[in-house]
């Protein structure tokens, strides 16, 4: 990597009480790169993702995102988080607001846009996820796939430099997964840097630049999708890939 990585996490440790969840993880992500993080449940991949925007406080290590030292006490974390979008497994849309309301809240309260300007940007973000005509719907009136796309719009409206996806399709019915992956693919084509924790291997295979395999709080191996899926070097990787491909 010649250019400065946009995400540079070093020696990340995370303890939950006696539980040692991350045991010294290093992860560098280049601009416009799509990194897929896979691994068995409990391997620490979601925790790693949540450490990157400090939803989880790492026990030690350093994290620099887009030049901002995320763990520095002087860093305005709310300001820094605008540059890091996050999409959750359970969507977490605000049920008391419309789709547009969900998308515009942070635009108004954090980015300081006027209501008119926020509505315009919010509508544009909904357009990008193909839901311009659902702006006035509340989450309860939308399908799971639509809710997740609104959640993506809520993040991209803030024009983040990096997007984190924490199992974005795991809670969806199979027939709704495609629409979310399609939005993610178009995001990727627009040059968004993305870190994705997911088991959508088909998507990983043809969209990811790099696949990172984690097990037991450590990165076991990483490389281009073809290499990881066809020729894993570690026994643990081989076992995991074999297991998920049997499905």
């Amino acid at each position: 990597m010649t250019q400065q990585p946009i995400v540079d996490a070093r020696a990340i440790h995370k303890h939950f009480g006696a539980l040692h969840v991350l045991k010294g993880v290093d992860l560098k992500v280049a601009e416009r790169e799509l990194v897929f993080v896979i691994g068995p449940s409990g391997s620490g991949k979601s925790t790693l993702l949540r450490c990157l925007n400090r939803l989880e406080e790492p026990s030690s290590g350093s994290i620099v995102v887009d030049g901002i030292d995320m763990l520095d006490a002087r860093t305005d974390i709310n300001h820094a988080r605008q540059r890091i979008g996050m999409v959750f497994q359970s969507f977490n849309l605000y049920p008391h607001m419309t789709a547009l309301g969900n998308v515009t809240l942070a635009l108004r309260k954090v980015a300081g846009k006027s209501r008119v300007e926020a509505d315009r940007l919010g509508q544009a973000a909904l357009e990008r996820v193909g839901l311009a005509d659902r702006a006035g719907h509340t989450p309860g009136q939308l399908s799971g796939g639509q809710q997740q796309r609104v959640a993506i719009a809520r993040s991209i409206a803030l024009e983040p430099r990096v997007m984190l996806f924490d199992e974005p399709t795991s809670a969806l019915d199979p027939e709704l997964v495609g629409s979310v992956l399609e939005v993610m693919r178009s995001l990727r084509e627009s040059g968004m840097t993305m870190i994705v924790v997911s088991h959508e291997m088909g998507f990983a295979r043809n969209a990811a630049d790099r696949v990172v395999f984690m097990d037991d709080g450590l990165i076991v191996e990483q490389g281009p999708p073809a290499a990881i899926f066809e020729n894993p070097t570690h026994e643990r990787t081989r076992a995991f890939i074999g297991q998920i491909q049997r499905h």
Binding site: N53, L55, N78, H79, A80, R81, Q82, I84, G85, M86, F88, S90, N92, L93, Y94, P95, H96, L105, A106, K109, V110, A111, G140, A151, R154, S155, L158
Partner: protein, 226 residues
């Protein structure tokens, strides 16, 4: 006189009722004043305590829990009596009206704090995380995302509790507050006839029935539509 006529003459005596109607009406005004003050200050204080509690400052939370549990366990009558007859020894002499207001406001504060707090904690953690991940501060998340959802959940228990405590204004009669029951019972002793008590009961119905009906409509309106 038949039995029924005697009954009417005793409990619904027109002459007595007419004579004491102005007293009952002025009692209603006092009750309304008390009720409005108790509801406004009690709920405001309860919500404030719940918000402070969400900051999770441990010693402060212990204090809040202690105060809340204290006022939830003491009978309101005891608090009123202590305040009216006890505080003068500390060189503070609140009137009966103020004693009743503050006592019931404290009780409503305590119960509503617990209800508001339960509402805040019942909002899913993912809501906090989603909001914080977009850069909203703790306070912005609380006010824009969590509280609107929490308040919806609290409306049914809150209206019930508010009505129950507001009816406690009748306890003010013990410390000479001239609210409905106070006026009615002094009219009973002056007229040697219980008719004013019937008027008092009617006055409570006139005041609280609309509130109960309104509360029911609020509950339906804010019922969670998923």
């Amino acid at each position: 006189m038949t039995n029924f006529e005697r009954f009417l003459d005793t409990f619904f005596n027109g002459k007595v009722m007419l004579k004491y109607l102005p007293d009952i009406l002025s009692g209603m005004v006092v009750t309304i004043e008390l009720a409005v003050l108790i509801v406004l200050s009690g709920l405001a204080a309860g919500l404030s305590l719940a918000l402070i509690r969400s900051l999770a400052i441990r010693p402060l939370n212990w204090l809040i829990i202690f105060i809340v549990d204290l006022f939830r366990s003491l009978p309101p009558l005891v608090i009123i009596v202590l305040m009216y007859f006890g505080l003068p020894y500390a060189e503070v002499s609140p009137s009966g009206f103020v004693s009743t207001w503050l006592s019931l406001a404290f009780v409503l504060m305590a119960f509503s704090e617990e209800i508001f707090w339960a509402g805040i904690t019942s909002v899913h953690k993912g809501q906090w995380e989603a909001a914080r991940s977009t850069g909203l501060s703790f306070g912005q998340t609380l006010m824009n995302v969590v509280l609107p959802q929490a308040l919806r959940l609290t409306i049914p228990p809150l209206t019930n509790r508010t009505i129950a405590i507001t009816k406690g204004t009748a306890l003010g009669t013990v410390v000479a507050v001239t609210e409905i029951l106070g006026e009615a019972s002094s009219a009973v002793s002056n007229s040697y006839n219980p008719s004013p008590l019937m008027m008092g009961a009617a006055a409570y119905l006139v005041l609280f029935l609309p509130v109960v009906v309104l509360a029911r409509r609020l509950e339906t309106k804010f019922a969670w539509k998923k």
